[in-house]
């Protein structure tokens, strides 16, 4: 059985970028796992936090994975609160939704917010505020009946 990691990645990225307010807030900058060195905040980073696991109590294949979706803001330019504002936009966009994404024989059936997090990163005399949440994505295998 294939694991729908790529589908989960694309689902989050496409869902986030489809929101005009989020798109505008980060100038379309949504990165996977880490930002490029020359990226200028604010931007969004999506990374998986818990490997996909199979849900066994169903007849069709079902998998879930936990992702972190966070905003990164340069505190000295935009202020720490901006990260929280973008995190709220992400929550409004993602929580309790059924993203319309299908690929590779899988269909994403839910996106659920689990918890929030925030922390300050200090590097090279710069302060970066990180704020976001953990989201569980679930996908079910598409069964073709002939």
């Amino acid at each position: 059985m294939t694991v729908p990691i790529l589908l989960f990645d694309q689902t989050l990225r496409n869902t986030v970028l489809a929101d005009p307010a989020i798109h505008a807030a980060v100038s379309g900058q949504v990165y996977q796992d880490a930002a490029p060195v020359k990226a200028v905040p604010p931007y969004i980073i999506i990374a998986y936090n818990s490997p996909p696991r199979s849900i066994h109590d169903t007849q069709t294949g079902q998998m879930e994975a936990v992702y972190s979706v966070k905003a990164v803001v340069d505190v000295d330019v935009d202020g720490a609160a901006r990260a929280l504002e973008i995190a709220q936009l992400l929550y409004d966009r993602l929580h309790d939704t059924k993203p319309d994404m299908t690929a590779g024989g899988w269909d994403v059936y839910r996106c659920q917010h689990e918890t929030v997090f925030r922390f300050l990163e200090q590097v090279d005399r710069k302060n970066y505020q990180h704020a976001g949440g953990l989201y569980t994505l679930g996908a079910t295998q598409i069964v073709t009946v002939e």
Binding site: D33, A34, A35, V37, A39, P41, I45, A47, Y48, N49, S50, P51, R53, V66, S68, K70, V72, F117, F119, E121, V123, Y128, H130, G132, L134
Partner: protein, 136 residues
């Protein structure tokens, strides 16, 4: 003669409630301690990564690859993971090390090495079984 009504006087609800609360408090503590044990074990089990030479004290460590559970170095991370009371019938597994959150969620340019979320997922997967056993 027909019985019209029956009155039962039971004045031990407060006692039962207190016992149930105590039992649930014990259960959440045990689950949190199991969570702590699992996350400590996962950090102390070698993850693949790159070998680095570090100083003060001079030592060789394997820095975990992105997406992998961090490897233990001086033991600061592991020693900072504690079980704490989080209110009535609630306990939390906490990370005291300042670099815990950056490791878990990544920094601007460093990919995450999550260790708490995988633990929470494994605890969640076993929850039904545990609750059945612990409530017996």
């Amino acid at each position: 003669m027909a019985i019209k009504h029956v009155t039962i006087n039971f004045d031990r609800f407060a006692e039962v409630k207190q016992l149930a609360a105590q039992q649930l408090d014990d259960i959440t503590r045990k689950i949190a301690q199991e969570g702590r044990n699992r996350v400590v074990l996962s950090i102390q089990s070698p993850s693949p990564g790159t070998t680095q030479l570090r100083y003060k004290p001079r030592r060789v460590v394997v820095a975990a690859a992105p997406g992998q559970t961090p490897n233990t170095d001086l033991g600061l991370l592991v020693n900072s993971i504690q079980v704490e009371d989080a209110g009535p019938m609630a306990h939390a597994v906490t990370v005291g090390a300042e670099y815990g959150a950056p490791l878990e969620f990544g920094t601007a340019h460093m990919e995450p090495r999550p260790f708490m979320a995988p633990m929470a997922a494994s605890i969640s997967a076993d929850m039904d079984t545990w609750l059945g056993e612990l409530l017996l």
